[in-house]
Symmetry: C2
Subunit: 154 residues, 2 copies
DNA sequence: GGTATGCATTCATGTAGATTAACAAATCCC
DNA sequence: GGGATTTGTTAATCTACATGAATGCATACC
């Protein structure tokens, strides 16, 4: 548990870093974001004073997001708790999944979202009609059908 | 805490219902979804056996999502805990925000997402450049500039 | 104080995915 | 088992938003 003063523009966490921390923002403003393969950044969240900022990955995983300060800020840095209750672990897991989904919706075209979906939930794909997968992905059933045609053709 | 057998197609929770519950799926498959003003549905999540399904709203708020069974299912229904730790409440709050964001990305055009953002985070709008708001919304700075022009003109 | 650098705006053009419609295939169900 | 309903496919057209480029304004920096 450490108090850190950040100046505007300072990056405190990068994609791939280990030991991702939790930051309680005392003053200022933080941002977390991903950078896609074209170099475009996609902001996941803003955290002004009073908010918690964290990359929602397991404590032992490399993190997905960059975090930096948009204003001079003061934060309390904490290590992620390891002895969490089962209930809290499940909630964090759920946040991770949602974080990934938001980032995909912001940055990936439908075809990549579909491929990610079938990799992540292969059994669901078998059990629900395609139009529901389209609905989950945020596209129409017609568009999904066309995408699948393109995938099959290559 | 109650065991419930559901038949395929059965709706167990509707938007606007109070006392939203938590469902532990023992067998089968549940789905949660919203319906937009045009009648299109947008699937928020699937929950097969072993998963937890819940509309992530405070126990005293009307719920946002519909939940139904995509297969004959057996679930354990629990009431939402009221005496949660502060930490868990914060996590749930965060899930609510992400749930809303996913639904908006799935169903609302950029202009509505922008209007929702400025209502929800009016101070952030003042503190960051527009291009970052565009990045948060999932559009380009040029598109946001055009939208703002349209809003101003009306 | 002048000149880089970043930000917002506007416009022309391109494109992913929506919409509409028609039809084929699967599935439900009495 | 056969008609009805739901699902998936294909194709033509349309639209929201992306891309790229040019311009005017700030703000930052020697």
């Amino acid at each position: 548990m450490k108090r850190i003063e950040l100046s505007k523009g300072q990056v405190i966490q990068r994609k791939g870093d280990l030991n991702s921390k939790v930051y309680h923002v005392e003053s200022g403003l933080l941002r977390s974001y991903s950078i896609d393969e074209k170099g475009k950044d996609h902001i996941f969240m803003f955290a002004p004073e009073g908010w918690i900022m964290a990359d929602n990955v397991s404590p032992d995983q490399p993190c997905d997001l960059f975090i930096d300060a948009l204003e001079d800020s003061i934060v309390i840095q904490k290590t992620k708790d390891l002895d969490l209750t089962h209930e809290i672990q499940k909630l964090i897991k759920r946040i991770q999944v949602l974080q990934k989904r938001v980032i995909m919706l912001l940055s990936a075209p439908a075809i990549e979202r579909y491929e990610h979906f079938i990799q992540t939930y292969p059994d669901i794909v078998q059990r629900v009609p395609q139009k529901m997968i389209a609905s989950y992905l945020g596209i129409t059933p017609q568009a999904l059908s066309t995408l699948r045609g393109e995938i099959a053709r290559k």
